[in-house]
Amino acid sequence: MASIDLEKMLAKIKNSQWALADIDWEAPGAELITEEQWPKLKAFMSDLMWIEHVGARGFAALAKVAPDDTLREIYTYFHAEEQRHANAEMALMRRWGMLEGDEIPEPNINLRLVIEWLDKYSDDMPLETLGSVIPMLEIALDGALCKFLLDTVKDPVCHQAFEKINDDESRHLGVGFTVLEMQGHGELYKLAIKAAGTLMRPTLILGILSYLPLLNKMRDNIVEMGLPEESLYKVMKKFETIGGRTAEGRRNPWYQIISRHGRVMIDRTNYFYHVPVDAMVKASSYIPKRMLPPIPTWVKELTWNPVA
């Protein structure tokens, strides 16, 4: 992928805005959700909606460290768009009778930990780290999970909403990979030293400790939904393929780290990785709720209601 013109991209983003009110959430089709599907779908949608927030919070942090006004504005839009995805997904859940009143779905514990980490530390992470991790998260979780959903759910309103969401996601990825390549410019050894320095930051280590179990947990959820886990791996490979298409992309040390981790992650026979990480997933499920810090106030902004 040749790098895109970010000014043009920003103009395109501004011209592609949509609102919840563009969709008729009362249109027929809700009955196509089977009774058997319903509880699993509810769990899946709750996670999905919170994954939008992982992206959202990541973009918010990127907007802080963006090197110029254009990229800052793009990230500000992306932050809002992830919130829009979460809002739309909540509107779907409400349509399917999965939300009562002003209730907001509960995130699973691994998501909570990642969001907590992002909220605390991501604003201080350098652009090259966040700018490389976010495309991976976007591909593996945000982009991919949406597609899986469409394979299992027949409700046309769901398809209508996800057509718009996926359209947004394609722009997120386009920018994501462009930035990944931008960060591969410069002398390799300097890039590597800087990356090594960042890697040793205790705050990043904490982040990694919450990110690894999240991936495994989402893999488990996908299996739970009755989807083949290979499809997740396929999209994770996409990160390696697209990100590594140009020399600059490959020179970005964060690309190297993340894509290598991806390879390990999709190799189920690598017990050295999966046994401890699965154990972390299990362990995190025992973290008592009261130990978690209060939910950040931006969560209150979430709504299924198209008008306010």
Binding site: Q17, D68, N87, D123, P306, V307, A308
Partner: protein
């Protein structure tokens, strides 16, 4: 209100050299008196110019004002909470100090009353032609006069013109997507609709600049709900606002020297701020820390604090001054929205987070149409030159006041004259005195043409752009100070004291002259 004048300026009064001439030049064939000086605009600058011209013996003066009243900025900006953000003792003319300011930062009504006081004290009303909206001016080289046309169909002729039409006098609804679809009530901060009752209304405020942060605390007291749409967070410094005690007023009344001393103290206090605001110095960091401490002290929620933390260096955009903005945002009926606005729609505003926010009224505190490239109306100089055309890529002048090819014309708030840290009126006084010197030269030496030399203008601009490159304004953020291409045609890169010394000398060698 009473304005005290300094009697010594009257002693400077000279007799006008060339008497006014009468000529037949009007396109409609009617005989028109040729004014010695014509002033466009009856705001602070226009009225101040008239006062100083007369004090220097130029009496044949006409002021054209498009409105029905004097006051400019302070006639138009009457929104709730409107006030100056430079202390009144400094935001007033040194030759007309007012001992009676009721507070350190006076409200717009009081400032307007001060302006009316100037008109009365200096008997300016007979000079002003109201409801004359200047639509074009053109220089006639043969006669050495400017022809000034108004949309009302009049043509005025004058030997010199002072453009005092205001740096921030044109406001319009912004060109936002969908604005034509919105069916609710719309108000622009600079054209407040006092008949609209906000009680029980759902209100949006678009913008978080100098006007917005004054409006919001007032609206929050009245409206049912207020949503504030912010694009970029600005730096906010605390505002040392207090009511002037009576003893203070009577002291200033009895001892004008005490007030001058106060004015000087304020002046030097603001000059010191330039070090932090105009250039990136260790003081910049200190001022930023003060602003951050202000934010920390007033806002407890970390997310809201994050939303309100600026991402650019202080001084890059106009610094805001307020004690009640942050508290107002945290009132239960107020909410800060930082999602980008996608479009306006019939019932309100749709943001990028996909939600339609519905309102009874939208307040646009979106600023002014600033002329950074071009002129507010056609200005035709020697050999049919068009100033708007020459300024397309960013305006430039000599000492902000004269432009080569446009003789006998003087600007207030011309290119690179804007203060970032001190009172506009301090700058204005030097600009006015400069124009008065130029006009006196035209009259005393009976000149047809007084035109700044192009080399002098070029030399001046090379220097100023070099100095601008080192300032915070040019440090990489978008602001209304810069043109689309990032050219800074608005601000003066230095202390007010430097500006004053730049304007003090009228170097006639830098001007080409043609005698009548």
């Amino acid at each position: 209100m009473k304005v005290v004048s300094m009697s010594k300026v009257k002693s400077l009064t000279k007799k006008s050299g060339a008497a006014s001439r009468v000529k037949k030049v009007n396109s409609s064939g009617v005989g028109t008196a040729v004014a010695d000086a014509l002033i466009i605009g009856a705001g602070f600058a226009g009225l101040g110019s008239a006062i100083r011209l007369r004090q220097q013996g130029v009496h044949n003066v006409v002021i054209l004002e498009r409105g029905t009243e004097v006051g400019g900025t302070w006639r138009d900006n009457t929104y709730p909470g409107a006030a100056c953000d430079i202390p009144s003792n400094l935001y007033s003319y040194s030759f007309a100090q007012n001992p009676d300011w009721s507070r350190s930062f006076s409200g717009s009504g009081e400032i307007l009353a001060y302006i009316h006081g100037l008109v009365e004290q200096f008997d300016l009303l007979p000079l002003i032609r109201f409801q004359q909206n200047v639509s074009a001016i053109a220089f006639d080289e043969n006669d050495g006069v400017w022809h000034v046309q108004t949309t009302q169909g009049e043509t005025h002729v004058a030997r010199s013109v002072i453009m005092a039409s205001g740096p921030l006098s044109n406001a319009s609804f912004p060109n936002m997507p969908g604005i034509e679809k919105y069916q609710g009530h719309k108000i622009h901060s600079a054209k407040w609709d006092h008949s609209y009752d906000f009680t029980g209304k759902k209100v949006a405020v678009i913008g978080t600049g100098a006007s917005a942060i004054q409006i919001i605390p007032e609206l929050v007291k009245q409206a049912e709900s207020v949503k504030v749409f912010q694009r970029t967070a600005g730096w906010v410094l605390p505002r040392p606002d207090f009511v002037t005690p009576d003893w203070n007023k009577s002291l200033f009344r009895k001892m004008p020297a005490a007030q001058t001393a106060m004015r000087n103290a304020l002046y030097w206090g603001h000059e010191a701020m330039a070090l932090g605001i105009i250039w990136n110095t260790p003081l910049t960091n200190v001022v930023e820390q003060v602003a951050k401490a202000h934010l920390h002290g007033q806002v407890r929620d970390p997310w809201l604090r994050r939303q309100l933390t600026p991402h650019f260096r202080i001084g890059c955009k106009r610094v805001l001054i307020s004690n009640d903005y942050y508290p107002a945002l945290q009132q239960p009926n107020c909410k800060l929205i930082t999602w980008p606005i996608a479009t306006l729609c019939e019932k309100g505003i749709r943001c990028a987070e996909g939600i339609e926010h519905q309102f009874d009224c939208i307040v646009f505190a979106t600023g002014f149409d600033v002329c950074k490239s071009g002129t507010p109306f056609p200005v035709t100089g020697l050999n049919g030159r068009e100033l708007g055309e020459e300024w397309k890529r960013g305006s430039q002048a000599y000492k902000s006041a004269s432009v080569s090819g446009y003789p006998n014309l003087f600007f207030t708030f011309g290119p690179n004259s804007g203060p970032g840290h001190n009172s506009a009126l301090v700058y204005m006084e030097s600009q006015i005195d400069y124009a008065v010197k130029g006009i006196r030269t035209i009259l005393d030496d009976n000149l047809k043409v007084l035109d700044v030399r192009p080399e002098a203008q070029q030399r001046f601009n090379r220097q100023i752009q070099k100095r601008l490159a080192k300032t915070n304004w040019n440090s990489g953020c978008k602001s209304w100070y810069l043109t689309e291409d990032g050219f800074n045609a608005t601000m003066f890169p230095g202390f007010a004291t430097q500006f004053a010394s730049q304007m003090k000398a009228f170097l006639s060698v830098d001007y080409r002259i043609v005698t009548a």
